[in-house]
């Protein structure tokens, strides 16, 4: 197990390097740059800006400096657009925000999704099943950019219970709507995956044996069916968790939560090279870590899987 984890971590290094090189090249291949604007800058001003941010150097030099900055000083460089801030500062401020509402949304999506999925499978073709399936399909087709304004309309404008946006240091009232808007679609997906995998597991021999020896239904489900039914869900949960804690541009923009999700899109549109690289790397590292975690969990759930 330990040697498996170490091996995976070693492979992560070239993976991240490849991520840097490919992102760097793609970013520079996109037309326009951070200082391309409608009010065109005079040549001298542009030259000064390029010199200040190192854009006057060949791309390999820029890339080398970038990697060295991270390795030697854990410095992701200055933002090209948000001039008063470094990429480290932007991520340090924005990531805790999305980490907070993203993890709560994850817990909500997983618990409700699991419950719905299991109930639907166990009581297949009953009203409970139809209700759960109906709910999850409804939730899935309701994208968060539609759900978010509806929530604000109801809870802010009509009922006046919750503030329409802002973060205020993560005050719970400011988290409720972002969490619901983020969790809903994921919850629906989880419920549907759990339902179908549970239905499959319930037809397996060992479940029939368990039932035959007279175990009560809840024990059959929890002790014998749940673990194997979770395997397909797990592979979905790794990347899902990463994409939830790195936020969503819709949530950050609509609820003004100032999270990292907004910078994802902003940085790309602004050609804010350093910020774009910073956020891409953050997502890259998190993806590698959580995929590894999922693999370790597999082995724990299913002893047939050897690491």
């Amino acid at each position: 197990m330990i040697s498996f984890i170490l091996k995976r971590l070693l492979v992560a290094i070239p993976t991240l390097l490849a991520l840097i090189v490919i992102s760097f090249l793609m970013m520079h291949a996109a037309p326009g740059g951070p200082f391309t604007q409608e009010k065109q800058l005079p040549a001298a001003v542009l030259a000064n800006l390029n010199a200040k941010y190192g854009l006057d150097q060949p791309i390999w030099v820029q890339m080398g400096r970038y990697v060295w900055g991270i390795v030697a000083h854990f410095d992701f460089g200055p933002s090209f657009v948000y001039k008063d801030r470094t990429v480290n500062e932007i991520i340090a401020q924005g990531f805790p925000v999305t980490l907070s509402y993203g993890s709560i949304a994850f817990v909500l999506a997983v618990s409700v999704g699991l419950a719905l999925g299991i109930l639907a499978a166990v009581f297949q073709n009953s009203w409970l099943d139809y209700f759960a399936v109906g709910l999850s399909i409804g939730a899935q087709v309701l994208p968060n950019f539609v759900l978010a304004p509806i929530l604000v309309l109801i809870f802010t404008l009509w009922l006046g219970w919750l503030p329409g946006g802002g973060w205020e240091g993560g005050d719970w009232k400011h988290q409720v709507m972002p969490v619901i808007a983020m969790a809903t679609a994921y919850m629906a997906s989880i419920a549907r995956i759990v339902r179908s995998s549970m239905l499959e597991v319930l037809t397996l021999n060992h479940i029939r044996t368990a039932r035959a020896k007279g175990l009560p239904t809840h024990q059959v489900i929890l002790r014998h069916a749940l673990k194997p039914a979770l395997i397909p869900v797990l592979s979905y949960l790794g990347p899902t968790f990463v994409s939830m804690i790195t936020g969503s541009v819709v949530i950050d923009m609509f609820f003004s939560t100032a999270g990292i999700g907004k910078f994802f899109v902003d940085a790309a549109l602004n050609r804010d090279y350093a910020l774009m690289m910073g956020v891409t790397l953050l997502v890259g590292v998190l993806t590698i870590v959580f995929n590894l975690l999922v693999d370790v969990l597999y082995a724990w759930i299913d002893p047939k899987i050897r690491l």
């Binding site: 409608e38 065109q40 800058l41 010199a51 008063d84």
Partner: protein, 538 residues
């Protein structure tokens, strides 16, 4: 007796706030709540006056800092950091007397040296400010050479004669020099703080300011809070505090929060003005804004569409645009149809008599058909064109409407091409377009900020329009005491040569709480100062 005295003192003290509850300038009765919260489109990119390049940043900066002049609600200059100034006979040397009671928030005096430092920093290649060209535009001596690295920053045409006397030398006289001094790029800079903290000097803990407000809370991307600065020279007249800017990217979300009472002012989303005006007549407000929207025609040799090099074709296309449909049916926010490039509301600008602006649309269409036929295009030889625009709902609607107008009136086949913002701009700069959507907002309240753009020597003249008379008129204007006749003549050349198709002039369309006063009503720059705001008792 003693007891009575005590009691009456208490009574008088309790009554004091009521006595002070009037606006000292207007005498209006004030509300108890003097907090102001407004929607800001995007996070602040910088609070360093010399690095500021966006409207949002300068809105915040005008509360925190102050330069030589401010603008009043009508766009006129009001002395701020300067109390008076004199100009030499050759109009090349300006001498400003600074306000002795003006202080930095660390208690030190704002001196001429702080202005010298600020201006030198602005053009210094090491700071690499995007607004470095501003002093070159203002004709300040050696500004361009310093930015290009040919001369040290110390050679800039600005010096401190004594702590309260500032002298600025220009390369060429320009009549609107003082009007350019309300821009945050020309604000003084606190050298001690910048030397001590470097790029971190604008962080809330480090920042030193000289304006009516202090930065008290700052969560980037979420909110910025300013509170009244008790050491400000005019603090007695500052009423509104605290000032809170909330970053809300989505304008519909902002409108909902305004309606829920979380905001005092927000922008009206496109197309929603008419029904909001009907529902909230006292709150939906549209005022002219110094920006113009046009389609540039590429006249670069060997680039663009050859048909467009014929002035008859350009005129036909411009005449056939029914601007009233665009402003009244698409934008619906009090924008005005444009037949000139410069917005008529610009200070001191006299609009020329542009012939086609008086015609009816039917007359314009007739004339357009005749011109296009004369140029050799018709049903058997149809004109096909492309138009670039950047991704936005409003741009798309306008492009589709114009596509229809040209098709119906002239039989022209227009293909609108939608590009992401940076790609659009990149193509503009590279001259890779036939026609392109363009917009420009004034840097200062004077017509040259618009007209200079289409001079053949302008870096922003992406269509490469070139007209010797036009250039001469604008060059001569720089040395004139009253250049307005030249501006009028230059605008007339644009209408005759039609290198651009002017479409509409902007309006700032806001929802504003009815008790909020002090926002500019007639300043096309839309410069508003938190220190001029107040809420009246209702």
């Amino acid at each position: 007796m003693k007891k009575h005295l005590l009691l009456s003192t208490v009574v008088i003290l309790a009554a004091l706030p009521a006595l002070a509850d009037k606006n000292p300038r207007t005498g209006e009765e004030l509300a108890a709540n003097q907090a102001y919260t407004y929607r800001m489109l995007d996070s602040v990119k910088s609070l360093d006056p010399q690095l500021i390049s966006s409207v949002e940043d300068s809105d915040v900066a005008r509360g925190l800092f102050e330069g030589l002049f401010n603008e009043d609600g009508d766009g006129n200059l009001v002395p701020a950091g300067a109390v008076s100034f004199t100009v030499s006979d050759d109009k090349l040397t300006y001498t400003f007397k600074l306000r002795p009671e003006s202080k930095w928030s660390d208690g030190t005096q704002v001196t001429a040296a702080d202005y010298v430092y600020g201006w030198q920093r602005l053009v210094d290649p090491a700071l690499a400010s995007e607004y470095a060209y501003y002093l070159e535009l203002a004709q300040v001596k050696n500004a361009a050479d310093i930015t290009a690295g040919k001369t040290p920053a110390a050679d800039l045409g600005i010096k401190a004669i004594d702590p309260l006397t500032l002298q600025v030398t220009l390369d060429n006289p320009i009549p609107y020099f003082t009007k350019m001094l309300t821009n945050s790029a020309t604000f003084p800079a606190p050298k001690a703080a910048i030397d001590k903290f470097g790029a971190d000097w604008t962080k809330p803990a480090n920042i030193v300011t000289n304006g009516a407000y202090l930065l008290t809370d700052f969560i980037d991307g979420e909110k910025y809070v300013e509170e009244k600065n008790p050491n400000y020279w005019d603090a007695a007249n500052v009423i509104m505090s605290p000032i809170t800017a909330l970053v809300i990217n989505d304008e519909d979300a902002a409108l909902t929060r305004y309606q829920a009472g979380e905001l005092d002012r927000t922008d009206v989303p496109a197309g929603q003005y008419p029904h909001l005006k009907e529902q909230f007549p006292a709150e939906a407000i549209s005022t002219p804004y110094a920006c113009a929207y046009d389609y540039i025609i590429n006249l670069t040799e060997g680039k663009g569409n050859e048909a467009l090099k014929d002035v008859r074709v350009r005129k036909a296309l411009s005449y056939a645009v029914d601007r009233d449909v665009i402003v009244n049916n698409i934008l619906q926010g009090g924008q005005t149809a444009a037949y000139s490039w410069t917005p008529p509301a610009i200070n001191g600008y006299v609009l020329p008599d542009i012939d086609y602006s008086h015609w009816t649309q039917a007359e314009r269409n007739e004339k357009a058909k005749a011109l296009l036929a004369e140029a050799g295009y018709g049903p058997d030889h149809p004109l096909t064109l492309t138009l670039n625009y950047n991704t936005s709902d409003a741009h798309k609607k306008i492009a589709v409407a114009i596509q229809q107008m040209w098709k119906q009136t002239l039989g022209v086949e227009l293909t609108p091409n939608n590009y992401e913002w940076k790609v659009h701009t990149d193509k503009l700069i590279a001259g890779d377009f036939e026609m392109a959507r363009y917009a420009w907002c004034a840097d200062y309240n004077e017509a040259s900020t618009f007209l200079d753009l289409y001079a053949s020597y302008s870096t922003n003249n992406d269509g490469k329009f070139s007209n010797a008379d036009y250039d001469t008129l604008l060059k001569d204007a720089k040395g004139m005491a009253d250049p307005s006749a030249n501006y009028t003549a230059a605008e007339q050349i644009l209408a005759t040569e039609m290198p651009i198709i002017p479409i509409y002039h902007y309006a700032k369309v806001d929802m504003v709480k009815p008790d909020l006063k002090g926002l500019p009503q007639h300043d096309v720059m839309q410069f508003w100062y938190s220190k001029d705001l107040y809420r009246i008792k209702q």
